[in-house]
Structure formats: structure tokens, C-alpha cells
Amino acid sequence: MSYRYSLEDLLALLHSRAPTKVDAVALHRRRVEHGLLSVGLKIHCLGNGSPFSTLVEALGGAQKILDVNYYKDSRASLCLVLPPVGSARSAILLLECIEQFIGSALFSNPEIQIQACSPGRLSARRSALLAIGFYLGSDTLRRYTLGDLTTSFVAHPHDPRGRRLVLYDAEGDFDRNFDWWKGSDKHRLVEPQLPFNNGRSDLLTGSGSRLDIENINLLATLLVHAQYEGYWKELGMQFEKEMGTLLEQHLLAGLVDAPWVRTDDAENGDDDKFFAALQELVAYAFEEAVRIKERDRFFWKRRDIPARSSRGILQEVQSLLQKYRGELVKRSRLFDQGDCT
């Protein structure tokens, strides 16, 4: 992450327009909730960037704040990198503060593309699960073109990232100073730093929502803990298994073998293979959305809906996310109460 200003500078600036929210972010900036991962954000502005001009100037000017960052969506006039915060809640609040300052919406705005950054590089398979879980769990179903996923690092000489939903970092600045939960069950240890010196898995949400940020934070936590032996490893592996079974039931298990992230492996460099998998997922989800709408129109009373073996992939993914969010919070609270069994 390349940013040449501090969160304190940014908050001081935003305080004039959103004092209460800014105070909340300042107070909880490094607070990690339930052992979930810290959250970084990048805002790609596809418009002319004018709403951000006052903010950028006040932080030190475009040369200092924006030009230092070579990475951005190829269609964007600017990419503003935000300092990471301890939780999805703080990240959402920070975006709301910026919305109030610039007087323009950041959530669900087609002119704004939100990139959600999670610490830790996920394996190719786990990156696939992150992307698929994000897509199916989002409150918006999107169609993509490869152009939507083109960044200035597509064919970078050292860090080629291709056109993907999930992108690794380019080994820039990395803030490790967030709590990391390790151990298992009753033996929880809280380390003051993340267990890796560098490395992120970022997700290009498109015009993202609050729910997207929360879902990506949950999914990344489960998958990163499964990979790096964190406290939520067991829960993460259970999630992977259930997600795999769910995809199998919908004959979509093969999707996870596509290259959803560009790794160092040369075989992973084919954007078209990834895009074919993404299009298959998109087509399946859109078809399912039409089916749900038709069903709801026909069976306008919910009790009339006939029992089915499957409720459809969109509802199943919602249930899965709710189940794991609930389970994680429940176990975390049980531990805090000293009643972990």
C-alpha cells in the first residue's frame, strides 16, 4: 500500500464534516473485532476525480498522495489508498466520513470502484473461494468485461497481476500492527502483529457496498486463518469444505480450478481461463436471480413456496455466510466469558 499521509492527518481533515464518526474511527482504529482481519481500502474514481480534489490537496497534493501510487484501475482518474484499520466496521465508517467530506456517494456508485485489501496472500484455490463467495454473497450481481478488471499492473514487468477479481500486492508498504489470534479452542493467544511481513489478497469489488466489505472481511479471515494456522483455522477449513460441497451440488466445483488470482506460476497467466469461469458463475447467478423473482411473483405468499431439495445457490451462500459469521461471533464471546467448551 503506498500512501504518504497518516490516518491521523486524514481524520483531522474529515473531522470538520463528520466529527462523531471520525471520533469513532480514531478511537477504534486498531481495534480488531472477534479476531477478524484488518481491512485496507483503495478507492478508484472512474469520473474526473473532482469530488476528491479538496481532500487530495489538503492531504498534500496529487503528486504526494496519488502519483506515488502507480497502481490503479486503467479507467480511473485517481486511486486513493486509505491506511488500513482494524475492522470492517471502522473501514465502513471511514468511507462514510469521506462521503460526507466530498459530498458524493462511495458505496454502490458506478463511478467508484472499491478495492478491499486483506492481509495474507491466499493460495490459488482459496483465492477462488474468496472471489466466488464474494460474488454470490454480494447484494448486487454484476456482469463484468475484462476491461473492468484491467489495472496498471496487468503486465507489470516484476509483478504482473493480469485481469482478475483477486490480486496480490506488489510488496509495497505493509502495516503489521494489528492483533492476530492464534491457538485453538480454549487456548487463544493474541499476538500484537500479523504473522507475515508482507503480502495481501485484494478484491476488486466494482461498485461495492457495506455488505461486500463485511463479507470479504469474513471470507478472508476464514481462509487466511485456515492457511496460516490462525485461531479460526478449524472454522475456516470447515467453511472451505462446505463451500466446496455447495459448489459440487450446483455442478460448479470445477470453477475453483480456474486461475482466479495471478500467481508466480506461469500456467496461471491465462486471463481467458479465469474469465470463462467468471462468466459461468455470473450466468448461473443471474439465472438463479430470475428464478427467485419469478417464484416470488408466483408464490406471493412465502408459505406457498413448495419445499425443494435446494433453495438455490444465492440463498445457500447467504445462509452459509450468516452461519459462519454467527459461529465466529458466538465462539469469540464464549471465550471472552470464560465459558468456552
Binding site: 462523531t20 478511537l27 436471480a289 423473482k293
Partner: protein, 50 residues
């Protein structure tokens, strides 16, 4: 918006985004009216009644 057309049929508009019908819209969490206090609020000491 993407336009799709088969020979002899009316072109149809395929939207780039649609709401996910499985997601129940949630009311946004109300913003806290004031930041959480860093220290517990102190209670005044009892003053003996006259």
C-alpha cells in the same frame, strides 16, 4: 447495459447489475451519537446531607 439479439428476435437489454434477490436489505446501523468513552464515566462522590 449489454444488448443481445438473435436473428429474427427483438433485441433484449441485459443489465450489467441486478440486486441479489437472496439478500434481505438491512437497515443501516445507526451511527453512534458520541464516541465511546475511553474511561468509565466517574460517579460523583456522595455528599453528606445537611
Amino acid at each position: 447495459m449489454i444488448r443481445a439479439q438473435q436473428p429474427g428476435s427483438q433485441p433484449i437489454d441485459i443489465p450489467e447489475t441486478i440486486p441479489n434477490p437472496a439478500v434481505v436489505p438491512v437497515q443501516p446501523m445507526p451511527a453512534p451519537s458520541r464516541p465511546a468513552p475511553q474511561e468509565p464515566v466517574k460517579t460523583p462522590e456522595k455528599v453528606p446531607a445537611n
